[in-house]
Amino acid sequence: MSGCGFAAGPPCPVREPVGTGDGLPPTWFPPVRYHTVIIGAGMSGLAAGIRLAYYEKPVCILERHTTIGGLNSFYRLRGRNYDVGLHAVTNYAPPGTRRGPLAKLLKQLRLRWDDFDLSPQCGSSVVFPGHRIPFDNDFDRFCDNVCDEFPQQADGFRRLVATIDAFDELNLEQEPQSARAVLAEHVSDPMLIDMLLCPLMFYGSAIPHDMDFSQFCIMFKSVFVQGFGRPYRGVRQILKTLVRHYRELGGELKLRHGVREIRVDNGRAVGVVLDDGTEIEAENVLSSAGHAETCRLADQAPPPAPVQAGELSFNEAIFVLDRQPSDLGHDETIVFYNNRNEFEYASPEDPCDVRSGIICSPNNFRYDDDLRLEDGYIRITALANPDYWMNLPDEEYYPAKEAWCERMLLSALEHIPDIRPHIVDTDVFTPRTIRRFTGHDRGAVYGAPKKILTGSTHVDGLYLCGTDQGFLGIIGSMLSGITMANNHLLR
């Protein structure tokens, strides 16, 4: 990359070099003014960056962390690869499919199907006391399974499916409505309602006890209608594809460059100030930092009403096994379980709610040529109490992680073979870990309860993308970045 690094457009005068934040000599000469500065190199920020760079807008993504991905990232620990965030890519579609969110996403980013290298799941299930609903990427089969398991509810369930099918979740002008209320109009068995909500809440709800119906429809379609897939190399396949493409198009990405302030002049965003005090000017700022967090960064212009941050977060234990889970008799991709009659989706009083959870095995996807991952993995995820984990002193934090990991595993063992003799390594994350990597208050995984679907804020030229804009899942987060770039920055 030479000069300011952009393939086309007017020449960019340079200013004083900026430090790299790690004590190394300054090497970066930002242009006087960017068209857009994007806060956060997660899925949404990278996707928005690709759109802007493709259309030759001077764009720079600023990421506080040492690595890309945000909530969905990857790391190497004790010689092994780990994924964090992504259990599976939702919205799966077979290669060449012309419709649906995945096809739309690939077209918009000018990527090929092979770039994400998705393989379909083997099969998943929702398991409650006395009931089990298996599902794979065949929606008709899922509907039959629901009707077989709850024959009295079959007609109501089919009506619900028709309602979901007719709902336009891409209309950004929707008023919030309770998903439970809409479900109850069609389905009378509370356990079926909970079983339908359970995977969708676990995979996307920022609201305790309920979901917004629009969000429910997005998640229902992405999980049950389209289903799960995964790249053989995990989330790094997707993130590395995005970053390579973004850089090839001339976009700039700066790691270890945290934004401490969004500058506002006369009600309009005019740039950002980095942690080291460097000022960067931009015509627009697109932030994936979260709504409340973004408002705090723009504190020169406080929002007209207080913005509520999210509160739902998770603990996850990742177990590395000395063999494939299928060698132990566990073939399922994802098990959503609840060990009581009622399902409670809320921030628990206990440090961790082990009564329900998610068991995911990245081994159990149908990879090409029967490829197998080198190690066996079982990931167990459960709701956690963010305040407990945030406030724990270090000397108590690590033992508590270990103790609650053990309890999560014991609870999950009601649904999978005993993996304990085969565990060769374990890593655990908590809401504290999530806060560290995403910057989201309380480690809120799905962001604020109230989504800003239009992405507009009270400041001109300052827009939101990512979880608090409100498209969900991996594909949804990328579509969020694309849609915000299209609607606000490319017109």
Binding site: Y55, G96, R98, A103, K107, R110, T483, N486, L490
Partner: protein
Amino acid sequence: MAPADIRQVVLDILERIAPDEDLSSLDDSVPFREQMELDSMDFLDIVMELRKQYRIQIPESDYEHLVTMDSTVAYLTPLLKDAPAPA
């Protein structure tokens, strides 16, 4: 650029936006939307690609001219008359 060249430019753009579509049987008098999977995001892309390649601005009120290949070529002909044909 002559209308035939403009038609090729639009075809190239469509191919880039929707690489999985078969454009060989495209009927120039029938709306794109009836023949291909194109949504509003894709139409924005046609406009953006033309802006990127030929530096022409198409206001949103003129998007209605981009319905069929015939109407698109007719609309673009005066705008692109001085632009060189692609090699």
